[in-house]
């Protein structure tokens, strides 16, 4: 969406202020459309009443994302790919994190295949109140045998409900896979300059999104996108080639930047499709699995930031999955949403007079980390979140947003009942240890100042050694 003024969207609304969308006015709703926090479908009169048909059509075309959004899969696990409006995340936000599709191959023996599928499907990591997961599975046809591929797809589907990417340049193989999986709306990979006619027919016959693979030739890629769109096939993903090394790696990044720029800054709709990245190609450059996994992470990182909309990956090692997942989470976090918690006293579990009081800052990440470390270990405790303007412990100690007087004021403001505590003691984060002397003075010795671990993950061990205080 290029439009930035709610007024221009307001013109396309019923302007009745009917409140059915939950907003007080149509103008407020229009502002929600601009920020993409509201959807066109939420204006029910516009959808239901025939007299608004033209407005509806106009509105839909105005608010459509600059980069087309493609749906892969069905049901709860369906993924949205693309749908972006900006080049840089702070310009609004990036909306749809690129799904990670980890590969399996049709020449794996069944037990190994099932094991890998299960590992992909169940991998998870908790972070800021959410589970991070893998989203997709890419099934590669190494055998080039339609029957083997179909059997493999069947096994994968029996063991996972993740959306699939069916990967082969052989239309007969793709067709065999589609016969098994079409209802689950997989993405097919890929049409290329040799097979595009057959693959277009498959995409049409089975109503599935299709990848156009034209490595390192954006003219030819655009030509294929135009051709497919001309046939009415617009659920397209572009593969402009991912070179894992050499000068072509630089070209890869330039291509991604140029494609995103063409889509969101120049409104070139005929090339404005989500772009696929193949970090898996790192495995073509080395025999060393650690080196390959590291390089795969590095390739992933580049394109999380610059325009990758969907990725096919290989390494299931935690040491490469974790950083990739966190980087994606960080980059796709909406910068418009505050990441602070309300300052004050929080209860974790059922704290009583014998429970400790842990001190941390109101930076949401810090707070939730401490909370989860206390809660997941079954500890009953109070947490006081000090208002550091949403800055973490280490930085706020250095920057002065966390200070002994601020801590004293915060307890006073929260009217914390020290008298009701059997052990009136606060536990400082290890990184704020240097405040303990000054705090002893400020609290006049009435509250014991204890120094906790530098990382809240060690609170459980700390409790065993130091709580209750002697």
């Amino acid at each position: 969406m290029k439009e930035t003024s709610p007024l221009n969207l307001y013109k396309q609304l019923p302007q009745t202020n009917c409140k059915k969308c939950g907003e007080e006015t149509c103008m407020a709703y229009a502002a929600g459309l601009i920020s993409r926090t509201r959807k066109v479908e939420e204006c029910t009169p516009l959808i239901d009443e025939k007299k608004y048909a033209k407005k509806l059509e106009t509105l839909r075309s105005i608010v459509a994302p600059e980069l087309k959004m493609v749906y892969i899969g069905v049901g709860e696990k369906q993924v949205k790919v693309g749908g972006e409006d900006v080049m840089f995340r702070h310009q609004m936000t990036f909306f749809n994190k690129p799904p990670f599709a980890y590969d399996v191959a049709d020449n794996m023996d069944e037990a190994k295949l099932i094991e890998r599928v299960k590992k992909i499907s169940t991998w998870r990591k908790f972070y800021i109140g959410k589970w991070q997961n893998v989203e997709m599975i890419a099934v590669r046809s190494v055998s080039d045998d339609p029957a083997k591929f179909a059997a493999c797809v069947k096994t994968v589907m029996a063991n996972s409900d993740f959306p699939l990417i069916l990967c082969s340049f052989n239309p007969a193989v793709l067709k065999a896979g589609l016969e098994v999986a079409a209802k689950a709306k997989p993405l097919i990979y890929a049409a290329n300059k040799d097979n595009w006619k057959e693959v277009a027919q498959l995409a049409f016959d089975y109503k599935v999104p299709v990848t156009l693979s034209v490595p390192f030739d954006l003219d030819a890629l655009k030509s294929m996108a135009l051709t497919f769109a001309g046939m009415g096939l617009t659920d397209l993903i572009l593969d402009p080639g991912t070179a894992p090394n050499g000068k072509l790696l630089q070209q890869t990044l330039l291509n991604f930047i140029n494609l995103r720029r063409a889509a969101v800054e120049e409104a070139q709709r005929d090339i404005a499709y989500p772009v696929m990245v193949l970090p898996i190609n790192a495995w073509l450059t080395t025999e060393d699995p650690v080196r390959a996994a590291y390089w795969e992470s590095v390739l992933t990182a580049a394109f999380i930031i610059r325009g990758g909309a969907i990725m096919i990956k290989h390494s299931l090692e935690a040491y490469s999955m974790m950083p990739d997942m966190h980087l994606r989470f960080n980059i796709y976090t909406d910068p418009r949403t505050p990441v602070q918690v309300k300052p004050g006293i929080y209860k974790v579990g059922k704290p009583g007079p014998e429970s400790p009081v842990f001190l941390t800052t109101n930076f949401a990440l810090t707070y939730y980390t401490v909370e989860s470390d206390i809660a997941s270990n079954g500890i009953d405790a109070y947490i006081i979140a000090i208002n550091t303007d949403g800055i973490g412990v280490q930085a706020s100690v250095a920057g002065g947003q966390l200070s002994p007087t601020k801590i004293l004021d915060s307890f006073t403001e929260a009217a914390f009942d020290w008298a009701g505590q059997k052990y009136p003691a606060m536990v400082l984060p290890g990184m704020a240890a240097k405040f303990s002397g000054e705090l002893e003075d400020l609290f006049q010795g009435k509250t014991k100042i204890m120094v906790g671990p530098e990382d809240s993950g060690r609170i459980i061990g700390w409790m065993k050694d130091f709580w209750p205080p002697k």
Partner: protein
């Protein structure tokens, strides 16, 4: 929100009417007529709601059904929305007639891809030289140049004149380190000079940073004179440009850093750092008077960065070519999103014309090791999948922290793990097109056996 009537439903209905066969209609599989009310789309209404193939079949069925007197309108009852939009079957028929059957194109359309450059980027980032050779009154073997960019890093609009640089950390006393890091420095942990040598000779550091943390009153409270000795030791040990870092104590740092700046006069060191919460003027003046570069450190706030840069120039008299910014590195998973966008905004602001921001940027990438995911043996959360080998996990944490900030515009990285240093160097060089390698067939992954 799709409502579906399947062909088998239709067949069942038709069977109840004793219809034996449908002439001229070939159907393979269980074709569905799907109405996706939520999806966007373009084209004739009919195609929009039914899809072309389904439309064709539906039309044939409808015509057939009409011919045998079947109430077509009832048949399409589930299609409430479509009826509301275009209720009369004859309209539907007209729309359907306008939709051509699917036909594979006979040839690819011809097309040229082109895209412009960003014309809103007008400024050049200030070029800053670190280190001075004999010819310039110092004793360094070479200098390091930062800045000079006219575009976002690795963007097509303009090349980067200088590759991102890495300065490796050296501490003046033993400190707590993650195990993955410690194993590389155990033999030099008591000697800043040997430590610096190892960083340069063995790990290929462009520069070293000597952190004078022992001067912190809360640690050893060593004197400025002790600090000067350490700086001299490091200057003797290596001939790369150096960065001199304080302890972070706002009262002590101005004293320690100005003494160190005097002692290293003419070497054009990076002095780390001046901060709004301390006597930045004293540090700025020490840089100006002794020919050093001042690192202007702020905490994730673009306006503070502008304020500090302005004050260093206007009040302390630090020349433009002697300022580097440290807008704070919050590491991967510990607020990287803030650090990333803050730096990206600073760099974009600079390129678009904000003269108070046109300076190279530095990142304390070592902060990655403060993140629990980089060093902990296993997850404190029992429900997490296994965290794997921390000796391998940690270095990637540092690589990705640095690398993502390289994309935001960082020019120089303060780092610790040798593997992380090597990878960051390799990937940034690669993205500048400086590494020759035979690129494999990029579609070979499809059939690779791993």
């Amino acid at each position: 929100m799709a409502e579906k009537i399947t062909l088998s439903d239709l067949n069942k209905t038709l069977a109840e009417m004793n219809v034996q066969s449908l002439e001229g209609l070939t159907i393979e599989g269980d074709v569905e007529i799907e109405i996706d009310a939520g999806a966007g789309g373009v084209g004739p209404l009919f195609a929009y709601y039914f899809g072309q193939e389904a439309a064709k079949i539906a039309m044939q069925l409808m015509n057939f059904a009409k011919a045998v007197g079947y109430p077509v309108e009832n048949l399409l009852q589930p299609v409430a929305i479509a009826q509301a939009m275009s209720p009369a079957p004859k309209d539907l028929a007209a729309a359907a007639a306008a939709v051509p059957a699917f036909k594979v194109a006979s040839a690819l359309a011809s097309a040229k891809f082109s895209v412009g450059i960003d014309k809103t980027w007008r400024n050049t980032i200030q070029e800053v030289t670190l280190g001075a050779t004999k010819a310039d009154g110092g004793s360094r073997g070479h200098v390091v140049k930062l800045g000079g960019e006219k575009a976002m890093p690795f963007f097509p609009d303009a090349g980067m004149p200088h590759a991102p640089k890495i300065t490796m950390d050296v501490f003046d006393m033993p400190i707590g380190m993650a195990k993955a890091v410690k194993v590389h420095y155990e033999d030099v942990i008591n000697s800043p000079g040997e430590w610096a040598k190892k960083a340069v000779k063995k790990y290929g550091a462009d520069m070293v940073t000597v952190h004078l943390i022992s001067t912190d009153p809360l640690l050893k409270d060593t004197s400025a004179q002790d600090a000067v000795k350490t700086v001299e030791e490091v200057l003797q040990a290596v001939d790369v440009p150096i960065c001199i870092g304080g302890s972070g104590n706002p009262t002590k740092d101005p004293i320690v850093l100005s003494k160190a700046a005097e002692a290293a006069q003419g070497e054009r060191c990076l002095i780390a750092s001046a901060n709004l919460n301390m006597d930045w003027e004293k540090i700025g003046k020490a840089c100006k008077d002794n020919g050093h570069v001042c690192l202007a450190w702020t905490q994730l706030e673009i306006n503070s960065q502008k304020e500090l840069n302005r004050k260093l120039m206007k009040v302390a008299g630090v020349p433009r070519e002697s300022i580097v910014m440290d807008p704070t590195t919050a590491a991967l998973a510990y607020g990287l999103d803030f650090a990333y966008s803050n730096m990206e905004r600073i760099r974009l602001g600079a390129l678009k014309g904000d003269e108070e921001l046109t300076f190279p940027m530095s990142s304390g990438t070592t902060n990655a090791w403060g993140v629990r995911e980089s060093w902990m043996v296993r997850s404190p959360n029992k429900d997490d999948s296994d965290w794997g080998d921390r000796m391998l996990r940690g270095p990637i944490w540092e690589i990705l922290t640095g690398y993502s900030l390289a994309m935001a515009g960082v020019d120089i990285f303060m780092m610790m793990h040798p593997t992380a240093v090597a990878y960051l160097h390799e990937i940034t060089q690669s993205l500048m097109g400086r590494i020759e390698a035979k690129t494999p067939d990029t579609t070979a992954w499809l059939k690779m056996g791993v």
